[in-house]
């Protein structure tokens, strides 16, 4: 297997995990899928680090795996355990229809990715295509789901997609910036976790479709 095969395999795995998140209702499984997705992102970064001899990308890979594949899933699972809600309720659109929509979004993502310049690495096109499809899928997940935790996971999927673009097209942003961004992400997840706690305390549910008093 060549380097580009590994990269394409990982990217495809990320897209598949995003699809599975759309088709999944158990919250634990959704969180594990997010963890898997982040792990694959870490592998993509590590493979590029080796093949292009850009060793600062290793730091990115390690930070991604530790933070997004372990710490954030662990934190979210703890939140779920504490509040004791384990399943997503019926989304606004049922699963088969959702998957069809996501298929359409993938086509759109790939179409847009053809406008990028051909770089030395031929797989860059695939990485961007997958990333844009994941971005759209994440957005879709965000608007159709009702549970606060699923919305957070959708947001994190969008964030993973942005990172895939970053490692795929540019071989990574400057290191200081990436560390800052990683720090901000973990802070955001903590803040979101606290908010979920407060919402559950108050409404005895984390169904965000109940948050609909403010209008006009």
């Amino acid at each position: 297997m060549t380097t580009s095969d590994v990269l394409i395999l990982c990217a495809a795995g990320m897209l598949v995990s995003a699809y599975l998140m759309v088709g999944q209702k158990a919250l634990f499984a959704t969180i594990r899928l997010y963890g898997l997705q982040s792990l694959l992102l870490g592998i993509v970064a590590a493979v590029i680090a080796v093949s292009e001899a850009r060793y600062e990308l290793f730091v990115t890979a390690v930070v991604t795996v530790v933070l997004k594949a372990m710490l954030i899933p662990w934190f979210l699972m703890r939140v779920i355990d504490r509040i004791g809600i384990h399943r997503e309720i019926e989304p606004f659109l049922n699963v088969p229809a959702s998957l069809l929509v996501c298929l359409g979004l993938t086509v759109v993502g790939y179409r847009v990715s053809t406008g990028f310049p051909e770089s030395s690495r031929g797989v860059s096109h695939h990485l961007v295509g997958v990333a844009l499809s994941m971005l759209l899928t994440g957005l879709f997940l965000m608007v159709t789901r009702k549970k606060a935790i699923t919305q957070i996971l959708a947001l994190l999927t969008v964030e993973n997609a942005v990172f895939l673009v970053a490692v795929g097209v540019t071989s990574g942003m400057p290191l200081v910036v990436e560390l800052g961004i990683a720090f901000d992400v973990i802070l955001a997840v903590l803040v979101l976790g606290i908010l979920v706690h407060r919402i559950v305390d108050r409404f005895e549910s984390m169904d965000v479709s109940r948050l609909s008093k403010l209008k006009g």
Partner: protein, 465 residues
């Protein structure tokens, strides 16, 4: 806290002064750099930070007098307001696009707990919507930043300086057009969400209603200016590489949409602070239209508008906040019955503020709006400017209707027993009066250094580096 923020404001002034003295203060390999635009936004942020902290202490004392404040809330308040101001100042001096993004994200995180400060059902809702929409916007802005970086791959070089705005401006002709376009669109939408440009404005009314008034001012002025600063930086990169039409037209459309979307909501509004939020959506729209029309006149109008808006908006928030505290709510139905009879000072201040923010002569916002309109009619945007003008007129009338209803409405029914707290003079009131005096004076006289800053900022925006 006031002392600290006064010191901060002093430092902002000193930095701006250093800039006017002909230097370009920079630090950390140019990651922080102060040019005309930064200096203007920096001074305005420092000013608003000081003002809102002063008012904030009075605000908290009033709530303490009514036993509404727990020790934890005190701690939150005194911790979060300076953190928020710090993050905004960091935004205004960032020259590095990555650092800029991080600073904007910090402002978001600092403001979430200010929005949920009162811990009501509705404030949780507002906080959740704000954080979800804000994070999504920031995700887009990050993607935009990554794509901008990708567009300049090879030309920008390596390391920390590669993301510097000044570096982007140097290599602008070599940026890859398609990637750049995509990046600019994502970044403008992303930072536009933070600025509250339609159609990503929906968090604003909720957040403004729930946040305590001092934090509301920071959002409505500081955050708005900061987000506009980001938008301007992206716009300038796009302008240098693709010409002024691409991002200019996008901004013009978004701005026009913001002004138009505010119209129906101002007319049917039921809450005082939400009214102010729609006014703020209108004003960010006006600034975006000014930048979109472009040319030196359009940009000058937009930056003048930013300055005058920063002076006028605090008055509106302080007086509205006082009225809301006296009635324990900012809903019109709780405040009905002519607030003038119960709180004459706050009501008069609010009327003055309303005159200012609807752009009535002789106040400053009138001149800046005229400048933008003139630039629009003289340029090639006659249709857009006509629609814009019509929307502004309707908005002024709508605002006048709402304010009249609130301040002069018929007296309450005698059987109504909800007695509001009486108005009395305190620190919060003092801050409101000082803010109003400054805003009125600014209509007739702007201090020389401030004018110089506005000119320098205009030059940055309309003339490249």
């Amino acid at each position: 806290m006031v002392g600290g923020l006064a010191l901060t404001f002093g430092l902002c002034m000193a930095t701006a002064d250093q800039f006017l003295g002909g230097q370009v203060p920079a630090a950390f390999a140019n990651a922080l750099r102060v040019d005309g635009l930064s200096a203007l936004v920096l001074v305005l942020c420092g000013f608003v930070g000081l003002l809102s902290a002063t008012y904030g202490i009075g605000y908290l004392r009033r709530n303490e007098a009514r036993q509404l404040v727990t020790p934890r809330m005190r701690l939150e308040f005194y911790g979060l307001i300076p953190a928020y101001v710090f993050a905004m100042l960091l935004v205004s001096v960032s020259n590095n696009l990555g650092l800029l993004w991080i600073a904007v994200e910090l402002t978001t995180l600092a403001s979430v707990f200010l929005i949920t400060f009162h811990d009501r059902d509705t404030s949780l809702e507002a906080g959740w919507k704000f954080l979800m929409l804000g994070s999504l916007g920031l995700g887009f802005a990050l993607l935009g930043t990554v794509l901008l970086f990708a567009a300049g791959r090879g030309a920008l070089g390596e390391g920390m300086t590669a993301l510097n705005w000044t570096r982007f401006m140097q290599v602008a002709p070599e940026l890859h057009p398609f990637t750049l376009r995509l990046g600019v669109v994502f970044a403008l939408i992303g930072y536009g969400t933070k600025a509250g440009l339609a159609p990503m404005h929906t968090w604003k009314p909720d957040a403004y209603r729930e946040a305590p008034s001092p934090a509301g001012v920071l959002m409505a002025v500081g955050m708005l200016n900061g987000a506009l600063y980001c938008i301007l930086r992206i716009h300038l990169i796009s302008k240098a590489s693709l010409g002024p039409e691409f991002s200019g037209d996008l901004l013009l459309k978004l701005g026009l949409l913001s002004v138009l979307i505010a119209v129906p909501f101002v007319l049917i509004q039921w809450n005082l602070k939400r009214l102010l939020a729609y006014s703020s959506i209108e004003h960010v729209g006006i600034m975006a239209v000014g930048i979109g029309i472009g040319g030196e006149a359009g940009v000058l109008g937009a930056l003048l508008h930013m300055t005058y808006h920063s002076l006028a908006k605090p008055v509106a928030f302080f007086s509205a906040g006082t009225l809301a505290q006296l009635h324990s709510s900012s809903d019109f139905k709780r405040m009905e019955g002519g607030t003038f009879n119960r709180a004459p000072v706050a009501s008069v201040l609010f009327v003055i503020a309303a005159l200012m923010i609807t752009g009535s002569p002789p106040f400053g916002l009138f001149f800046s709006e005229m400048t933008i309109l003139r630039a629009g009619f003289l340029g090639s945007h006659a249709t857009a400017t006509s629609i814009f003008l019509a929307a502004l007129v309707v908005l002024s009338c709508g605002f006048a209707f709402q304010v009249g209803r609130l301040v002069l409405g018929p007296p309450r029914h005698p059987s109504d027993r909800r007695v509001p707290v009486a108005e009395h003079f305190d620190l919060g009131m003092g801050a409101a009066i000082v803010a109003a005096t400054l805003a009125i004076v600014s209509a007739f006289y702007l201090p020389g250094p401030l004018v110089a800053l506005i000119r320098a900022a205009t030059q940055v925006v309309s003339g490249g580096v």
